[in-house]
């Protein structure tokens, strides 16, 4: 039987950089096929070629054995290829119904809005989704929006369904639900492509796996006949050992938070009197289901959002409640924000600017009258190579063009350059591949070994358990319980869910 979708020898370059360099891929009807690789391996680019969004420089595309040339996404839809992108393509102020109508490629407006509404209901019921066609997109959660995307693509007739890193934005539970849906679709005869860098998903939910590295296809395996170690070796090129935490006695409290309260922009109080402390030379992990006040806590601690009540002390005595970011940073606070492109870098500015903003205020690069450009350039070049920031082809290139993992490394390079005493890290490895994730963890452990107090806030329970000396569970803006390492995964997980 011919493959539902087959691409052969695809090349595609962006501004001289070869993102795809002879990549091959195929998926059969009735299977869930994983496309595995690190960030920047070319997975999304390859799928964008298959979905008609990118025009390849060379390469051939076959659908059900017939060679085709895709002239655009509409053409791909006509060939029954549908893609759910990482960034959802939904119009936020519109309803679900309107979004489905908008994507409808042959303009079936005639059957009437009601007909399409009933189609959405039918499709949603079939997939076990609870979606009201009349609700607005911006009222829906991320997981629900993703379901709308899937319904939209299926109603447009897709039988080849490409899911680009669908679980990156989901909680564990939601991810399992989505992957189960993907299996059900495949069982119904669809060809499902699952683009991912999570090894667990590959072995548990897919039939076959194609591994990509540096724009090339390196392996095609049966998912049942392989394991995490082999996949890591294929995707990364080398084996990655997770960094270990050496035991050492913690020092004096460096950050003491007492009864802190903070509210979201809409006035809703999400940090409801939280109390904890972080000592020198320890990592204090704050585990919790996302949306329990973590974001506002980080903002209040880093001087971005003034707290409503409570106090924050740095170094035991020095009152840092409601201090500006400027003052907090002078006192040795560093922050790795969860929203990298929102709070971490100025995307339109160069790598040099984004690195040097960290230290320019203390005169590292010369007086305020005339900061020394060559000094700045050299410092950045040193940091980029020290912290292994990849994808920097020119220090003057815009930071927005770096991948998420490399932006994170750049942020860490900047924040750690000042030898901070207190580090607030919020979901530092979210969306990063195995290697970048290990690099981030290693940096946090190094900072801990150097005597810094690290506050690690993460929805990823494994990350918190592996790195932390002590663990607090945040639920509804308070500490629900604290655990000493080594903590029992089950006990921590139960506290997270029960109090949330």
């Amino acid at each position: 039987m011919a493959a539902a979708l087959k691409v052969v020898g695809v090349r595609k370059s962006f501004d001289g950089f070869a993102a795809l360099d002879g990549a091959d891929f195929e998926v059969q009807a009735g299977e869930v096929h994983a496309l595995l690789g690190e960030n920047g391996a070319g997975k999304s680019s390859l799928m964008n070629v298959a979905a008609g969004l990118y025009t390849p420089e060379s390469g051939r595309i076959f659908v059900n054995g017939e060679e085709i040339v895709l002239t655009g996404p509409r053409d791909a839809t006509a060939r029954r290829i549908g893609m759910v992108h990482q960034e959802f393509k939904l119009v936020r102020p519109f309803t679900v119904l309107e979004n489905v109508l908008l994507a409808d490629w042959h303009g079936r407006f005639a059957p009437g809005v009601r007909e399409i509404e009933s189609q959405i209901r039918r499709q949603a019921a079939e997939l076990g989704f609870d979606i009201d066609p009349k609700s607005r997109i911006d009222e829906l959660s991320i997981a629900e929006r993703q379901r709308v995307e899937i319904i939209k693509v299926l109603l447009a007739g897709a039988r080849i369904l490409i899911l680009d890193e669908p679980t990156a934005v989901l909680t564990d539970e939601e991810a399992v639900r989505l992957l189960t849906t993907a299996r059900a679709l495949a069982a119904g005869g669809a060809a499902v492509v699952l683009v991912t860098h999570k090894l667990g998903e590959v072995t548990a939910f897919t039939d076959r796996v194609t591994v990509m590295r540096n724009g090339r296809t390196v392996a095609l395996l049966d998912s049942s006949a392989t394991d995490a170690a082999e996949l890591t070796r294929l995707a990364v090129g080398t084996t990655v050992t997770p960094p270990r935490r050496a035991s050492s006695p913690p020092g004096e409290p460096r950050m003491t938070v007492k009864g802190l309260q903070a509210a979201r922009a809409d006035g809703h109080v999400t940090v409801a009197g939280i109390t904890f402390h972080v000592r020198a030379g320890e990592i204090y992990g704050l585990a919790g289901v996302g949306g329990n006040g973590q974001t506002e806590l980080v903002e209040a601690l880093t001087g971005v959002r003034p707290p409503l009540a409570g106090s924050v002390q740095l170094d035991g005595t020095c009152d840092a409640t409601a201090a500006s970011a400027e003052h907090l940073r002078e006192r040795g606070l560093a922050c790795i924000p969860a929203d990298r492109f929102g709070y971490g870098v100025a995307g339109g500015l160069s790598v040099i600017d984004n690195f040097c903003i960290g230290q320019i205020s203390d005169g590292t690069y010369g007086s305020w009258m005339h900061p020394d450009r060559s000094k700045m350039r050299n410092a950045t070049a040193g940091a980029v190579s020290n912290f292994d920031v990849q994808g920097v082809r020119n220090l003057r290139q815009r930071a927005a063009l770096l991948s998420g993992g490399n932006v994170q490394k750049l942020i860490i390079a900047r924040e750690f350059a000042r030898n901070p005493k207190v580090i607030v890290a919020h979901s530092p490895s979210r969306g990063l591949d195995v290697r970048a994730c290990a690099a981030v963890h290693e940096r946090l452990l190094k900072a801990r070994a150097a005597g810094a107090a690290v506050l690690l806030i993460s929805d990823d329970l494994d990350e918190v358990l592996n790195l932390s000396d002590r663990i607090g569970v945040i639920a509804r803006g308070r500490i629900a319980a604290e655990f000493e390492a080594p903590a029992d995964r089950q006990a921590v997980g139960r506290t997270m869910v029960h109090h949330a």
Binding site: D15, G52, G348, C356, W368, P371
Partner: protein, 374 residues
């Protein structure tokens, strides 16, 4: 240009490429986001855009009855050979430089100062007040006029600045509406207490000789020298100092700037105050160098020109100076076209608009690479 939205960084991450389907197999246009832009390429694109703008404008002028040969004669030969003409251009350039640099400074920190004309009016009023009430000895009179003008402009911009910082009131609206307040106060003065007793026209009495900015010879006015000094000062401040480094972050991503400890409040305050002062100085130089008194329409059109100059100069003060001189060429040449060919002055504004649109369109080519596939 006036939107306050931050660039969508996540979109820029993945190069956006879109194939445009065409019926034939000949080829398709492919677009890619450029990873980086060399300054030379940017300058070249900009120059081409301006040339295209000129070409369209020339076509329009020819259609309106100006002979092609005359066009070249008026714009190029006359401008650079006729000393009278060159003098008027440099004379006209001074206030344009002031307003252009003023807008550039404010826009760099996303403070959308549309109140340039209001600040000019206050600059004119303050300078005239010093003359009218004879404040200070003659030797320091001009300096005091300049100082008071700058202070008046700064004071006037404090209102929208404070409203924005304290209550998040949109400064676009406030600065724009305050122009009308300033204008009506000006008219009150000119039709009331400051009405010229000599001819009873609604303008202030003539300034005395020592209250007027002197000519320095070779057709150079001291107004132009002042404008150049302030341009260099502003250029140094935003292009070379730590302050300038901060303004880039406030412009690109103010949330991030706040989080990494950029003193956003201070940076915005200084930029806006400087902007207000420069606009007011434009009013001062028109009153003290061109008109020799306060008139009721000396500021007209400068608000728009300032925004346009800052836009064409990409908020770079030094470039703003160059653009301001080119706009002055357009103004003066437009005036003679008006006289000799009965071309309406609206044509000058049309030419300005065409050039702005060409440059705005060229932005697309700077950000994207366009090529044919297959």
């Amino acid at each position: 240009m006036l939107s306050n939205t931050a660039p969508v960084a996540s979109n820029a991450q993945a190069p956006l490429v879109k194939g445009r389907g065409s019926g034939w197999r000949m080829g398709r246009i492919n677009l890619e986001v450029r990873q980086q832009m060399s300054p030379w390429y940017q300058a070249l694109t900009l120059a081409c855009a301006v040339l295209v703008g000129f070409a369209i404008s020339a076509a329009l002028l020819i259609a309106a009855g100006v002979k092609p040969a005359a066009l070249f004669d008026e714009f190029v030969v006359e401008t650079f050979t006729d000393s009278e003409n060159l003098h008027s251009i440099l004379f006209q350039a001074a206030p344009l430089i002031f307003v252009g640099v003023s807008a550039a400074l404010a826009f760099r920190v996303r403070f959308w100062n549309l109140g340039i004309e209001g600040q000019m009016i206050w600059g004119g009023i303050a300078a005239t007040a010093v003359s009218f009430y004879g404040i200070g000895p003659p030797a320091t009179r001009l300096f005091l006029m300049m100082l008071f003008a700058a202070l008046a402009g700064m004071t006037w911009i404090v209102i929208p600045l404070w409203l924005r910082v304290r209550w998040r009131v949109n400064e676009i609206i406030v600065t724009l509406l305050l122009n009308y307040v300033a204008l009506n106060f000006l008219l009150h003065l000119l039709y009331g207490p400051w009405l010229d007793p000599k001819d009873a026209f609604p303008h202030s009495p003539q300034f005395r000789a020592f209250e007027r900015l002197p000519e320095l010879g070779f057709g150079i006015s001291s107004a132009l020298v002042l404008a150049l000094v302030f341009t260099v000062l502003s250029g140094w401040l935003v292009l070379f100092t730590r302050f300038g480094f901060y303004t880039k972050f406030v412009h690109d991503n103010d949330r991030m700037a706040l989080a990494v400890g950029v003193p956003i409040g201070l940076v915005t305050l200084v930029s806006a105050l400087f902007s207000g002062a420069l606009s007011a100085l434009a009013g001062f130089v028109i009153a003290a160098a061109q008109e020799g008194r306060l008139t009721q329409s000396f500021f007209e059109g400068y608000g728009f020109s300032g925004i346009l100059i800052a836009f064409l100069a990409r908020n770079n003060p030094i470039a703003a100076m160059v653009v301001a001189i080119l706009v002055a060429v357009l103004f003066i040449t437009g005036r003679s076209l008006q006289v000799f060919y009965q071309i309406p002055f609206a044509m000058v504004q049309l030419i300005q608009a065409i050039i702005v649109i060409s440059v705005a369109a060229s932005e697309f080519l700077m950000r994207h690479r366009v090529h044919w596939v297959r």
